[in-house]
Amino acid sequence: MKIAVMQFPGTNCEFETLVAVKTVGMDGELFRWNRSAGELSGFDGFVIPGGFSYQDRLRAGVIASKEPVMNALKEEAIKGKPIIGICNGFQILVESGLLPGSVNGSGKVDMALAQNVMVSQGKIVRRGYYCDWVNLRHDAPSKRCSASFIIERGALLKVPIAHGEGNLVTTTPGLIEKLNEESQVVFRYCDKNGRIINEFPFNVNGSTESIAAICNEQGNVLGMMPHPERAFFAWQLPAFDPRKQRPDEPGPGRRVFQSMKRYIEVNA
């Protein structure tokens, strides 16, 4: 089971992502953007890690989305292989049209991840980059999506975010309704009890309906703003989380990578 962890100029989460991939028992290697795109067909799954590809020039993810390797990834997506985009990886998947993935497969861009706007009681209280741990609620049924394959609906995950552009907006009529109906909204920001409260600090970036992660219709491609690879060991959790006291245990984010592995096994 071979996973390519994609590396664009400016990517900066590839090393910890590779650790995550390998620790759950998959083979993995870094795949530099200027390698021959044809080599990608030899892999069983893909992770586009976080960072600032091309320094977020023009807007986050757009320049990387035009690289030849992304066309090759589209081919692999059609084959049903799992692709997980984390943070900047999510932004790249949106800009390349792989997410949410139009019904007709046109590759049209159907949404944007705009600048964070933190709103509380109708007022903008903060803007821009933000790093903190957040609570996520899994809103899709298990087996719906590659990267949350083994996670039950309603399960809560504590993972960190660190981004400036994660505010999901769209002008495509009916898109949000469709994402909800088809269970393509995989994670939402919530409070510690799993309640969705659509304002800061719970909705941490102003995203429509507190959406933190979505998948495509087929469920094999997932994009998420939070970083599961940074919540991979219990010791990485914030001080006030009681699980931190059991440092040898897995962290909540590990289930995303375990899901990917299980998804590949089931679909093999």
């Binding site: 100029p9 400016g10 990517t11 900066n12 989460c13 090393f15 910890e16 650790v19 530099r32 200027n34 976080g50 960072g51 600032f52 091309y54 320094q55 977020d56 821009g128 980059y129 933000y130 790093c131 903190d132 960190p160 660190a162 970083h227 690879e229 940074r230 991979f232 010791w235 990485q236 914030p238 001080a239 006030f240 440092p247």
Partner: protein
């Protein structure tokens, strides 16, 4: 340029016209050594190399006289870009600490970003993986007469730091911010970076043995050289005048974290290439003094000469030789390597990592050769533009500056005790110097790399676990209190070391090394130079008397392995408060034993160590509530301090503590409140001040609560109290049981059975969490 035969005023005029800052005497001494008039390029090169920043011409003698730089754990002291200390047999920590004060005052965003960009290069060029940065910042008064400018600077600096560090992908794990009037016209932006490297994979910043005999290549990599930052180093060595601001702006460099991110990965490939081939190279970053500094220092450190051809340098435009020689274009490194590696090295940068397509004009170019001579020779467009003795250029010059004590009149205030301690406490908690730093650190990516164990806001120090599969953790804390430095530059230095070590100890880490960034006024003024010397003496005294834990029987000092001196932090309105900023690296054998400062469980007992003394000079209470500085500055009682630090480390190692927090700004009251207010802020506290040592002999309540005498507040794990008391006593400490964690969401402090303060937790938290955002709005 003609010097020989001209009068002093004539030489002075032509130096200034050319934009060269050196003195006439310096110019004459160069002409004398060369035996002819120097070229323009030569004068520019000497000017950069002999600047205060590159040569430490005013400070070196003092640093050498006092600072301990060696120790059993020291792998490399302050000789190259960073210092190195051992973690264990295999792994080492690399640390560097610098200032970027002047550029940040002029252009806060670029200035601060370049500071981060420069300091991470210093660490990376030792062959290390950069694992963290920290940023001690000093800004002017956000409510003073220059509030608008101060806030513009503060906002721009914070933006510059996060924009660079986050994009590069290095977590910011600590720092501090202090506001006071003395920084109105001179902010301080200090930057610290740490990395890790295996002991046998350290790369030196010098031409390796036989480089001359075998004609090693000099390879320049990174951004194309331009005119940016021209004169930046000399400008960092001159006092700031507001009317010069427009011209000074040209001296700030343009940082690019994206290119740096790619360069770091290419450098990693270079390091593994040299390991595979088993060939030693020299590697150095280009910082202050630009190309000339990096090349000549590499050659001279190896004992060789070199020939450079500027025609072969990749450049952004057709600049004159003196510009190419000393421009401080960012994101560049220099390699000295054998010719047989040339093609492989060029391929790493120009093809594998595709520098020319990542950044227009960026690449790796062979620009010169090492030789066995003793000259630094540069040619350009068919002319020799520089031909000087390389050691003469790099060894710089020394000045013995005069010192004279600065006499200031100081007095202790005579004031009645406050009637409403709730109001006082709320005011202190919301003061910009005490309030939670959350507003700032939420901009910093503390999680990238996945190594964070304890992050900003959770404890007195940050902690990282940099290597998967290894149990050790690396702790980092910074400190310096300008208000103490103002009263006593000596105790300002001594307390900075003690507090930085306390911070590291409070999570359970053993202080392993220190760095110092010494920020002072104009050293040509005897009072400023006296402040500098006093500060260095204070630092040194603490290092020597607090001992390296594990070697206390030999009384070995905690070594200072890296540092930086920043003079001329002054404007016509005056100089900054003496600010010897200290960073402390601590090592934990097992990072999972580390503890944080938030209260853990209702019913837990709270102990205080460190008696309260009547030494509130420079305290938050005196300044914020009474509006005075005072005279009795906190001092370091070395035996007590050492015993407290060691005891806390041992108690954490033994698993006796649930939480610990050191006492500093705001005193006992602020420290206890912070333990209750830190997330998740679930518990209150009940404090009984009768048990605080100091109160028996009638010490006033305000002095007990707000004295900034050194100490710790410790939350004992239930059932471990007796053992904790026993351990503390074995260090000759008098543990004081001062209260307990409570289920009521209140902070209650009582004396003689009466509540002197009783704050509702949410209200206190609101004051504490909004104070900084208000000051930076």
């Amino acid at each position: 340029m003609k010097i020989i035969g001209l009068s002093d005023p004539e030489v002075e005029a032509s130096l200034r016209n050319a934009g060269i800052g050196m003195s006439v005497a310096e110019a004459r001494s160069i002409a004398e050594v060369l035996g002819r008039d120097p070229t323009l390029t030569e004068l520019f090169c000497y000017d950069a190399m002999w600047s205060e920043h590159c040569s430490y011409k005013s400070s070196r003698a003092t640093l050498k006289e006092f600072l301990p730089t060696d120790g059993p754990n020291v792998v490399m002291g302050p000789v190259e870009d960073s210092g190195i200390v051992a973690i264990d047999e295999r792994w080492c920590v690399v640390i560097s600490h610098e200032s970027h004060n002047h550029p940040s005052q002029i252009l806060p965003n670029e200035g601060a970003a370049t500071g981060i960009g420069g300091i991470v290069r210093d660490v990376n060029c030792m062959g290390a993986t950069v694992i963290a940065t920290a940023d001690p910042l000093r800004f002017g008064n956000p409510y003073g007469s220059k509030a608008s400018k101060v806030r513009w600077v503060a906002e721009g600096v914070v933006d510059g730091i996060w924009q660079y560090g986050n994009a590069l992908g290095v977590p910011n794990m600590g720092g501090d911010i202090v506001f006071n009037d003395s920084f109105d016209d001179n902010c301080l932006v200090n930057v610290v970076s740490i990395g890790i490297v295996q002991r046998d994979q350290i790369i030196r910043s010098r031409a390796p043995p036989l480089a001359g005999e075998r004609g090693y290549d000099v390879i320049l990599i990174g951004k194309p050289t331009d005119a940016s930052g021209l004169g930046g180093v000399t400008f960092a060595s001159e006092a700031l005048r507001e009317e010069d601001e427009e011209t000074n702006r040209g001296a700030v460099q343009i940082p690019d974290p994206f290119l740096k991110n790619v360069l770091f990965k290419a450098n990693a490939d270079l390091f593994s290439l040299t390991r595979e081939e088993g060939i030693e190279i020299g590697f150095k970053d280009l910082g202050g003094g630009g190309f000339t500094c990096a090349t000549s220092e590499m050659g001279s450190a190896g004992g060789f000469g070199m020939e450079i051809n500027l025609d072969d340098m990749h450049k952004a435009d057709d600049f004159p030789a003196e510009v190419l020689s000393i421009a401080e274009t960012q994101e560049r490194f220099l390699i000295v390597s054998p010719p047989e590696l040339r093609e492989k090295i060029l391929k790493i940068y120009n093809e594998d990592w595709d520098l020319p397509n990542v950044y227009e004009g960026a690449r790796a170019s062979v620009v010169g050769k090492i030789n066995t001579g003793d000259r630094f020779t540069v040619s350009y467009k068919g002319e020799i533009v520089c031909d000087v003795p390389i050691q003469h250029l790099t060894q710089g010059i020394r000045y013995q500056r005069e010192e004279k004590e600065r006499i200031i009149s100081l007095a202790e205030p005579e004031m009645p005790e406050p009637e409403d301690y709730n109001e006082v406490l709320l005011k202190i908690l919301s003061s910009p110097n005490i309030a939670s730093r959350e507003h700032v650190y939420r901009y910093y990516d503390t999680e990238v790399m996945g190594n964070a164990v304890i992050r900003p806001g959770e404890a007195d120090a940050g902690l990282i676990a940099p290597v998967r599969g290894e149990k050790f953790g690396v702790a980092l804390a910074v400190d310096s209190n300008p208000f103490y430095g103002r009263i006593s530059p000596y105790w300002g230095g001594a307390t900075a070391v003690a507090e930085a070590m306390r911070n590291v100890a409070a999570i359970g880490a053993v202080p392993s090394t220190l760095t110092d960034c010494l920020n002072y006024g104009n050293p040509e003024k005897p009072e400023a130079f006296w402040e500098f010397r006093e500060g260095v003496k204070g630092l040194a005294e603490s290092c020597k008397k607090l001992y390296l834990k594990g070697y206390e029987d030999q009384q070995l000092p905690v070594p200072i392995v890296s540092g930086n001196v920043s003079f001329y932090n002054e404007s016509p309105q005056g100089s900054v408060d003496p600010s010897p900023v200290v960073a402390c690296v601590g090592i934990m054998k097992d990072f999972s034993k580390a503890i944080t400062m938030e209260l853990k469980a209702a019913g837990d007992k709270l102990f205080l160590i460190g008696p309260r003394f009547d030494e509130l000079g420079g305290s938050e209470y005196y300044r914020t509530i009474l509006g005075v500085t005072g005279a009795n500055v906190p001092i370091v009682r070395f035996d007590l301090e050492r015993n407290m630090i060691y005891a806390v480390i041992d108690a954490i190692e033994e698993g006796l503590l649930a939480a610990a927090h050191d006492i500093s700004n705001g005193g006992l009251a602020a420290s206890v409140a912070e333990m209750a207010l830190t997330r998740p802020a679930k518990f209150g506290v009940e404090l009984d001040l009768d048990n605080v040592q100091g109160s028996d002999n009638g010490m006033r309540t305000d002095k007990i609560l707000f004295s900034e005498s050194s100490g710790f507040v410790l939350e004992a794990k239930p059932g471990k109290e007796a053992r904790l008391v026993e351990l503390l006593k074995s260090y000759n400490l008098e543990p004081m049981l001062i209260g307990k964690v409570s289920n009521k969401r209140r902070i209650v402090m009582s004396r003689a059975g009466n509540a002197v303060a009783d704050l509702e937790l949410d209200g206190a938290r609101n004051a504490w969490t909004t104070g900084l955002a208000e000051a930076m709005r």
